[in-house]
Structures are given as C-alpha cells and as structure tokens.
C-alpha cells in the first residue's frame, strides 16, 4: 500500500501537474481557435503566429520597462485592433465565396508564413526570453511546484471562466451566438453581423496573444514559436468539437494528461503520435467531436 501511495504522490501527481500547466497553455490557444471556427467557420492557420505576435509584443514592451502584470492587459488590448483589421481586410474578402473554407485556410496559411518572416526580419533569428515575474516555488505534499506555473493554472482557469461568461452570459455573447446560429436572421433582427464577426476574430487572436505573453517566461520567444502548440490546439478543438468551449477545455485537458502520463511509460517521441492517433480515432467514429455543434450550443 505504501508503495502505491508513494507512486501516486511522487510520480503521478507531479506528472499530472505538469500536464495540467501544459494543458492550460494549450486550452488558452485553442479557445480562440474554437471560437473563430465556431462562429466564423474559419480555420485560422495563422493562430500560432498571433500567439507569437503577443509574445514578441510582450518582449518589446517589457524592454521599455512595462511591468509584466500590465503586459497581461496591454498585449491583448493591442491585438484586438490587429485582429479586427485582419478580418476586415483579408478574411471578409473571401468570406462570401463558395469555397470559403479552402480560401480562408489558404489565406491564413499565407498570412502565417508572412508573419513568421516578419518576426525574423524585425527581431532577428536569436532566441529571446523575458524574465519570469514569479521566481521560486513551493513544496507541497513532497513535490516542488514552481510559483509561476501555479500562477499559470490560476490565471488560465480565470480566463477560461471569463470567456465562457462573455460568450454565454452577456449581450455581446448572445449576439455572437445568434450570428453563429443563423447569420441572416440575426442581421434582420438588428445584430451588426459584420462587426460581430470582426470583433470575434479580434477576440480570438487576442486570447492567442495573451497565451503568448503568459508562456514566454517558460518557453522563450523565437520566430517559429507559432508552431509549438498549434497542432495540439487544433487537436483539442477537433476532439472537443468545433465551437464548443466546454469541449475544448475537456479536450485540451485530456490530451495533455495523456501526453504527460504516457511519457512515464513509453519513450517521449510517442507522445505526439499517441495524441494524433486519438484525433484520428475521434474523427473516424465521432467526427463532430465530444460536444460538437455551433458556438455556444455546447
């Protein structure tokens, strides 16, 4: 019995906590993605690059002396107009065409390539890293938990709850859900649909940027960082169901826990194949995901 509790306490628990911090990171990225897909039906291939943009903005502002806590508010605010513009100027142009899915995918893919090269040109190829605002850690139940990671879990949870609240309990959220359900009816009822679209896209990429700032002290900042979590984020969205907030939270948690715990038993290189294998199985047997449906319907 003693050996089992020891195993749970000293091996499983810390591994699950690590999986949890990575899970929160993935969910923050995936939230924006599922909202954008749930409402706009747009597969934003540049989502990772907005994550990177947030991180780079954070580094630039921090070097001017802006405090980390202020960055958490400032960077998403700065990304809102950027996202709004991208939607108005680029995505809306191809939105009303028949091959919308393909076109927006190609468009955002191209945008991703351009953004990555712009980062390299503006900041150089070297790695950057802001200092962690919370150093040190605490001993809890015989394990060491870095303070910053505890903070991440906390702020991640807060953000997820806030997003759920905005989507499901505010007037703006109800406009978004109405436009997702039936664009024309919502428009005829006075919902400013185009503005809602652009604002939602802006909101989605602002979330990506926020996760960029939050994760930069532990994962560093470099031009190709957009590729770090994007595949996991997409997988979480697919597993949970496009447009479902509940789904993406559950999907993200499940996938990262599986990845973290599997590294105890198999070589780490199997982490990705296992995760994507699950995605393939889900698409095979339940393509709408766990809670699939239109935004806010799950």
């Amino acid at each position: 019995m003693g050996a089992l509790t020891d195993y749970v306490q000293f091996v499983l628990m810390p591994q699950m906590f690590n999986g949890l911090t990575i899970g929160v990171a993935v969910i923050l990225m995936a939230l924006g993605l599922t909202i954008i897909f749930g409402l706009l039906d747009v597969f934003n291939m540049a989502h990772g690059e907005f994550y990177a943009l947030g991180a780079y903005l954070g580094v630039t502002l921090a070097s001017r002396g802006v405090s980390f806590w202020l960055l958490l508010v400032l960077v998403p605010l700065l990304l809102l107009p950027a996202g709004f513009l991208v939607d108005r100027a680029l995505i809306q142009r191809v939105f009303h065409q028949k091959e919308r899915h393909m076109l927006t995918m190609l468009l955002t893919f191209g945008l991703a390539i351009v953004m990555e090269d712009l980062f390299k040109a503006a900041y150089g190829p070297n790695t950057l890293k802001p200092d962690s605002p919370l150093q040190g850690g605490t001993e809890l139940l015989g394990n060491f938990f870095p303070t910053y990671r505890l903070f991440l879990v906390g702020i991640g949870t807060f953000t997820i709850v806030a997003v759920w609240f905005i989507v499901n309990r505010t007037r703006f959220g109800s406009m978004v859900r109405a436009a997702a359900l039936d664009r024309h009816m919502a428009a005829s009822l006075g919902v400013p649909v185009r503005r809602v679209y652009s604002t939602t896209f802006a909101f989605g990429v602002a979330l990506a940027g926020l996760s960029g700032v939050l994760l930069s002290p532990i994962y560093s900042v470099f031009p190709t960082m957009g590729k770090d979590f994007i595949l996991m984020a997409f997988t979480a969205v697919i597993l949970g169901g496009f447009g479902s907030i509940r789904g993406v939270v559950l999907g993200g948690l499940v996938l990262t826990q599986i990845q973290a715990l599997s590294s105890l038993y198999v070589s780490p290189v199997w982490g990705d194949p296992i995760v994507f294998g699950i995605m393939v199985l889900v698409l095979f047997f339940r393509p709408q995901g766990l809670f699939g449906g239109r935004l806010g319907h799950a």
Binding site: N126, K129, Y219, P268
Partner: protein
C-alpha cells in the same frame, strides 16, 4: 635594321619580359554557406581565409605565387555544395578546395575531390566519420572533431569531479543529438564516471518538466546535454524554474550554448562547461597577433571557425612549400604528419586518418562569456585512428 623590325623586336622583348613578373596564382576554391541558416559560420570561414591569404600574399605568396580564393555559395545544402565544387574543380581548375560546413557536404565534396584528383579540407565539420569510417585519402580536417571535444570535456570533468560521479544524459532525439551523447558517455565511462540515466526528448520539445521527475530520482551530480538553440533556452530555464540547477553541474556539446541563445539564457547559462578547440582567450603570441589582426580587419571577434579557417591557409602553404609543388600526390605526402603553427599552437596532421591533432580546452560560461578552465594536450584528446582505407 628598319623601323618595323626594330619595333617588332621591342614588342617581342616586352612580351617575353611579362611572364617573369606576373606569377600564376594558386587557386583555392571555397564552397561555404554564404546565405541561409549557416551564413554566420560561412562569414567567419570567409574572414579567416581572407585574412590569412592577405598575410601570405604580403609576404611573397606560396612558392612565389599569390593565393587566390574563389568563393561559391553552398547554401548549407550538400547537393548545391557538390555542384559548386564540381564547377570549381572542372571550370575554375582550383588547386585545392575548402569551406564546407555541413558534414554531409564535406563527405560529398571529398568524393568529388577523389574523382578530380585534388585535395580538400574542411575547417568546420565535426562529424567523427569524416576522418573515421568514412575517411578519404584526399580529405583532410584541420579542426577538432566531435570526439576531441568530448574527450577534452570528459578529461576536465574527471579531474574536477572524480571517479564514480553520477552523470545523467539528456539529448535531442536525432542523429547528432544521440551521437554526441554516445560519444561523451563512452569517454565518461572510460574515466570511471557512472551513468545514472538517459532520456531523449523530441527535437523542438517545449516542456522538459515531464522528465524532471525521473531525473531527480536518479540524483545526478552532473547533467550532460546536447540540445541546441531554442531547446537549450527552454531546458535551462525550466531546470532553473524547478530548482534543479542547485548542486547540478551542467556540461554539454559545444553547440548547445552559442551567441544565438546566450541572450535568452542570461544567468541560467552561468557555470555551463563544454570542450572546444579554440578560444579568443588562448594566451599565446600567435593567438594575440591573430586576434589583433582579425579585430582590426573585421571589427569582430574570431570564433573557432574563423581561427581554423585562418590556420588552413598556413597548413596548405607549409605543405606546398615542403613538396615544392602543387601536384596532388606530392602535396598529400607532404601533408601527412605535417606540423604547422596556428593561433591554437602547433598542430600535427595525423598521417593515418588526416585528422589534425591539437590542444583542446574546457571552457565555462561566466557572465555571458566563455572562459578557459583547463587545457587538454593534443595526444590525449585526439582519440584512436579508426580510418582503415589508407
């Protein structure tokens, strides 16, 4: 004699006089990455070669002939390197070839050199195979190979920490990562240090915290790693986050901490030790002279690529002067066992495998700079001759 005959004779006389003053240059082809990811390395190679060529030409050239460097961009791609090398051998008719960075390029160019009956040398590539199981009678290496770097580091570590020291290995899961770990593990175990664990993370892994549990349980005194670039920044930062840097000596490959990630690492890189073949701190008159000339010419410090490339020109000069010719077979014979002076001291080109034997250094990061902590003499660091082809 009439007017026409006199001017004709004068013309012939002046034409006959010209060859005596204009000497046929010795052409050295340089196939190196001038663009792409490895461009900074190609830049150092270029600087080192040009500085040496200028100095050699100023003191009379090689056997009275000026050195001419012909550059071609290999774009860090072995296929492109092969094409450019072919062009240099067949069209430009170079006497000697150098400059390749990527170990794959060096091996490919080596085969081409054999087919064209010319000699080639690398000044950067450090895969052991080049002067090991894939050695070639026409390929030489003036720089230290991976095995020498590992040997230097293992030698320093054994003296610093002693036999029985617990070492944990963490490398990126691809050829270079696994080879470097294997090479150091062999060198460490030969010096009676204990391996307490080994893990290979995917290249580009974000989060190393899933491996910290097993690392902690193994209780190592030393961590050896061969990650590079962004992976290093993440590994070291996360080790620091989890309080694992206390009481842990981190050592690793020479490419793990470089100017690319030194800025991001900051103080978490302090204390990192690796083995290298060159440091600007080397306290020899040759190095001081080289440093001063390099800094004056290019306003930058040389790194090992610049220093080794500089040394190559002097190596070739010494060989050609000993052979009194640029004929391939004579120069090859002259190069075997040749000793020549470089900023790193005297190097010897081992005849058995065409690998340069040189003193190696263990260097440690202190405040963003590498400082020499010990020197390992050439013969101890070079490793066995595993070339069986010649």
């Amino acid at each position: 004699m009439n007017r026409h005959a006199a001017s004709f004779v004068a013309l012939i006389a002046s034409l006959l006089a010209l060859p005596a003053t204009a000497a046929d240059p010795v052409k050295i082809g340089v196939v190196t990455p001038l663009t792409g990811t490895y461009a900074p390395i190609g830049q150092q190679v270029r600087w080192g070669l040009e500085l040496a060529a200028k100095e050699v030409n100023a003191s009379g050239g090689i056997l009275g002939r000026p050195v001419e460097l012909v550059f071609e961009d290999e774009e860090a791609n072995p296929a492109v390197a092969t094409q450019k090398a072919e062009k240099l051998f067949q069209v430009t008719k170079v006497d000697f070839l150098t400059g390749t960075v990527n170990s794959g390029s060096t091996l490919a160019v080596g085969q081409l050199a054999e087919r064209n009956n010319r000699l080639a040398s690398t000044t950067v590539s450090f895969s052991d195979a080049i002067t090991g199981d894939k050695c070639s009678p026409n390929v030489f290496r003036v720089n230290a190979r991976a095995g020498q770097q590992s040997a230097a580091l293992a030698e320093w570590l054994a003296k610093e920490k002693g036999a029985g020291t617990a070492v944990y290995y963490l490398g990126p899961d691809y050829e270079m990562g696994r080879n470097t770990v294997a090479a150091f593990k062999a060198a460490a175990e030969a010096r009676k240090m204990k391996t307490v664990g080994e893990v290979f993370a995917p290249l580009g892994n974000n989060d190393y915290s899933p491996f910290f549990g097993q690392m902690r349980a193994a209780k190592p005194a030393v961590l050896y790693t061969s990650v590079a670039g962004n992976d290093t920044a993440r590994l070291f930062t996360q080790l620091d986050e989890y309080g694992l840097r206390k009481n842990l000596l981190i050592v690793g490959a020479s490419g793990t901490v470089t100017s690319q990630n030194m800025g991001a690492l900051g103080k978490v890189a302090d204390g990192y030790v690796t083995g290298v073949g060159y440091s600007p701190e080397i306290d020899s008159p040759e190095n001081k002279k080289f440093l001063a000339a390099f800094q004056a010419a290019y306003k930058a410090d040389p790194d090992l690529y610049g220093a080794d490339s500089y040394g190559l020109i002097y190596f070739y000069k010494a060989a050609v002067e000993k052979a009194k010719s640029t004929d391939t077979d004579k120069v090859r014979a002259a190069m075997s066992g040749l000793k020549w002076m470089t900023p790193q001291g005297e190097k010897e080109m081992r005849a058995g495998d065409h690998q340069a034997v040189q003193d190696m250094y263990a260097v440690r990061v202190e405040n963003g700079k590498f400082r020499i902590v010990s020197k390992v003499p050439g013969p101890q660091a070079v490793g066995p001759d595993t070339c069986t082809r010649f």
